[in-house]
Each structure stands twice: as C-alpha cells, then as structure tokens.
Assembly symmetry: C2
Homo-oligomer: 329 residues x 2
C-alpha cells in the first residue's frame, strides 16, 4: 500500500505543481510598470477582448498587435540606430571607395562631422543607406547586421544597441502573447536590418516584421540562386505607409497599436477606425535622466500632431518617467 500511497502523492504533487505554475502566471504580468491609469488601461483592454463573455471578445487569430520599433521598443536618440549602422559601414567600406574622399557627404561621415552629415537631410541619409544596404546578397547583409548588433555600442550608455530595448515593453509583448495576441513590428526602419535580431531580442519572428525595404533581384550564380539587394527603394513603411504595410503584409486590421511619433499616427488612426474595442498607445519620452525627453520639437521621433490627437480621443499615453519603474533590462 505504501507504493500506492507514494504514487498518489506523486500525482498529487504534479497537480499542485501545475496549479502553482498557473498562479505564478496570474501574478503581475507587467512588473516594471507602475500602478496607475496607463497600466490599468492596458490590462483592462486585454481582459475585455479575451473574455468570451464580453461583447468585446475577439477570437485569438484576430488579436493582432502592431508595434513601431524606433522609440517604441528601443531608443532612437541622438539619431536612429540604423543610421549609426550605416555610418559604421561607410567607415568599414571606405578603403574600397577612394572616390568617397571627394564626396562631401561621405567625407563628413569619415571625419565624424555629424552636424554636416545631417545637414544633407533626408536625401543624404538615403544616399548613405543605398551605399551600405545594397550591392550584396540578402544573406551577406544579414550576416553583417548580426555582427554589428552583437558588438556595436551606444556612445552615451556604452550598452550594446540591442540592450537599449525597453524592459516594460518586453513585458508587454510577453503579456500580449500569453493572451493569444500575435505581435508584429511595423516600423519605418529597414526590414532587412531588423529581422536578423528581432526574434532573439523581442521574441518576434522575421515573418512578423513589417518595415521599409529596398528592391531585391533573383539571380543565378553558377547554378546557385541568390537574392541581390539593389540600391532602389521598394517600400517606405512610415506615416501613410504604415496602414498600407499592415494591409499588404498582415491583411487584418490590428486591435492594438503602439507608437511614439507622428510617423505612427496613421497606424493608430487605422487601428482606431476598426469595428469593436481597440487600444491605441503612444509612448511619450519624458525621462531626460534615464533616457531622453523630447516630443513636439524633436527632429527624431517628433510627437506633435499625434499627442494632440491622443489627448483629444482619449488614447493611452505612456509617461516614461512616471509609468515605468525601469527603462532597460
């Protein structure tokens, strides 16, 4: 009978153990968020759309949540991290391009004259991207990005760029996925720049990353097919482009969308206009001490019209300084 008793205790412990696990999962899913209206509005929304008894219930396959990347999931100051990647690549590639010494834009990059680099405006940035993001196969580029993201450090924090992701947002991504949401990135950043590391860093696989892209071309090289990255724009996933990208890539309207700048406004409008309950969230950079404080006047990540519309329509605005206990993991 002792054997039977032991078996019973063994099975009982299994049952208890799984109950304990459930309780852990039912603890605070957002421990890095301070209690308050912001956190509560997110939790209330999730509880509502996942409650089968609610009029706002949404079945799991339609629980689509879209996240901007720069300034929403990771930092973006003093300028987009992808621009730093391009600048670093110009320096690596310079020995193969003696002609760059006669080009004022590339010369400014090589001389670390950022003020001058930025004076070339969007056209200049595009030229740097084209020079550093094309002319190789997709697999070669992916390897270059992986090497960079695993070694390059931010000048101010000395952290790896991939460590400058927001701990509260990592918890939010996990929380949404645990509640049957499918999480997507919808970013103005380059799709080929993000995909090599989004799964490791955010738990978002490449097929759930929407972004800007250049054209690629299929080519046979000695019987082996490759995809060549061309110096030509394919799609800009910003502003009006975000709802377009969501339609082309996902084909469903999000029920929750997260951004931090005016470039995300159309994505939030598109989300809000759907039928049923929706969650629109703006991350407001208010923490000059732990991160950066900027909004209406910033050239990077300007939040002006979006802030007005969020206030007017009662969207959730995250005050980084007051709503987040920590910034980085």
């Amino acid at each position: 009978m002792n054997t039977l008793k032991n078996m019973y205790l063994f099975f009982l412990s299994l049952v208890l153990f799984s109950c304990t696990e459930q309780n852990v999962q039912k603890g605070d899913p957002l421990p890095s968020w301070n209690e308050g209206n912001t956190k509560q509005s997110i939790i209330d929304f999730v509880n509502d759309v996942t409650n089968e008894g609610s009029a706002n219930f949404v079945k799991a396959g339609n629980r689509i949540a879209t996240f901007d990347n720069d300034g929403t999931l990771w930092s973006e100051q003093p300028y987009y991290f992808q621009l730093q990647f391009a600048l670093d690549r110009v320096k690596v590639l310079a020995p193969e391009h003696p002609e760059w010494n006669d080009n004022p834009l590339f010369k400014a990059v090589l001389e670390n004259d950022m003020k001058k680099v930025l004076s070339f405006g969007e056209h200049g940035l595009l030229e740097l991207v084209m020079a550093t993001h094309a002319g190789m196969t997709t697999e070669e580029f992916s390897k270059i990005v992986k090497d960079w993201i695993n070694t390059a450090r931010h000048p101010k924090t000395n952290k790896l760029y991939k460590e400058m992701v927001y701990q509260p947002m990592l918890e939010l991504l996990d929380y949404l996925r645990a509640n049957g949401f499918k999480t997507f990135i919808v970013s103005g950043g380059g799709i080929d720049f993000m995909r090599p590391w989004t799964e490791e860093v955010y738990g978002i696989p490449s097929e759930q990353v929407v972004g800007s892209s250049g054209k690629v071309e299929f080519e046979m090289r000695n019987g082996t097919p490759v995809l060549l990255k061309l110096p030509e724009i394919n799609f800009i996933d910003d502003k009006e482009g975000k709802p377009v990208g969501i339609h082309q890539f996902i084909g469903k309207r999000p029920i929750a969308a997260f951004g931090n700048s005016d470039g995300d406004l159309q994505m939030l409008q598109w989300t809000a206009a759907g039928e049923g309950k929706k969650l629109m969230v703006y991350i407001h950079h208010t923490d000059a001490e732990r991160e950066w404080a900027y909004d209406r006047e910033s050239s990077i990540g300007r939040l002006d019209k979006g802030l007005d519309e969020a206030n007017e329509k009662g969207w959730t605005v995250v005050d980084m300084k007051n709503d987040w206990k920590v910034i980085y993991p």
Copy 2:
C-alpha cells in the same frame, strides 16, 4: 485505502488515455494518399527534420513550408478561377460602364466569347483585373470576394470553387502544422483575392498568404481612414518573383516547397539551395478523368522545365492519378 486505490486507478487511466491519444495521432496522417514512394518521401522528410536526434533536425520556428495555390492547392482549369471572378465582375459592373460596349475586350467578355477574350493575351487579362480589382476600398473588395467564393460554381463540376481544393493537400497542410511547420501560400494569384477565404478553406491566416498585389493608398474620408485599391501593379509574385516575395514577406528560406508549374521553379530552386535537408514537391496533373491532365503544352499551369529539373534533381513528383485516392473533399 480504497480511496487511494481509486485515485491511483484514476490517474493511471489519465496516463493511459493520453498515450492512446498519441497513438491515434500517430495513425496515418495522409489517408487520401496511396502508399508508395511519393507519400513515403514526404513522411520521411517530416520525421527526419522533426527528430531532435537527427543531423537534419530543424527547430519549429524555422519549419517554413510554402505552397503555390492555383493547381497546387485547388484546380486551375480551364483557366485560373480568379479570371472567372474578374469575368463575373465585368458582367455585374457592365450597367455602370456603357463604354465597355465599344471596347472589343469587354464586349467579348459580355458575349461569353472566351476564345476572343484569351486572344488579348496577358495584356487583356491585366486590363480586366485592373477594371475589376481597383477603384474601391480594401474592405469593399474583401466583401465582394467573400460573396463570390461562397456562391460561384465551376461550369464543369458544378461545385463551389472553394470546394475544388485537393483533399490530399488539405491533409498535408494539417500534417505539417501538427509537426510544427508554419504553412504559407506563395501564389501568383492576387493577395486580396485569396486572403478573404484561405483561413476557412486551408487553415492559413491572411498574414501567411503571399501573392501578387496592386498598389493601395491611404485616404481620409470624412475623418475615417480607408485604403483605396489603385489600378496599378505593386508586385507580381510569380517565377523570379516568388523567392523575392518569400524574402520580403517571410524573411526565412522555406525548408519545404510545393508547386505545380514552371512558375514555381524558382521557388523550388531557392528552397533547394538552402543549407540542410529540404523537400521540393511538384504536383503533376495526370488525371484527365477525376481532374485534368496537362503539363508541357498547357497555356495554364505549364510544367515543362520544372518537370525536367525535378527528374534531374530527384525532387518529389506527385502523380495525381496514381498517388491520390480522391481529388476533392
């Protein structure tokens, strides 16, 4: 002690029950496939890449399988079903377009003169698609497609078009998903034409459908955002376009790819060229009685170069007549 004994028997039965369930799942996963080399090559591949002890093991997130649609998952004769949709739409829209009576192409459609319609070639088909797939919002178009797919019938079989999907392929999709594969459509067909019904019919959600597309434009209508379908090509997901589409939408190389025509050859080549074990499958239409028999000479779904390359490289070729017990569900 009886209580303890009963508890023990209860738990034991739970364990036995779950073992039985496993055995059921381990029954024939492809009952509509005849035994033979074709079926075995698919099962051997799946067993190998999902076996953690195998040198060919692939972790679940990378088990990407891509499927062509026309002629691979559903029939495509006497011409692509999407063309029939366009022809039906021309007839519905004709009263609003008196000018079509003076246009030889549209006149031929309205007079059911298919020989003449097809004589206008690709340019003519494109004109029909532009006239019927644009000039409305994405949501309006989606509703039109849903209405059509739920009511339109094929002239030869009198089945709904959505019933002309291949039962053996439905089983294959289920089998792959049960083994941790993520299944994608990669089709030359229109992405907005497929997405409204692929989840119901194939269990493939819209975000896993890659296809050809027109441009769409974000527009505010009285404060409500809409996406307008424009009569302009955005992307053709055929031939060299298939590996490009796979890169842009999925960002990972498939480990298994299924097609039926020369338009799928580059997708199969791209799949085959990846590292590790891969499965390349061509569906060969050999069944004139239960479906259609066509290959090297067909204007729809021509399989010529692809058949040579499949034979040369030892890819799996499904002989519909001999490998499939049934065609439609």
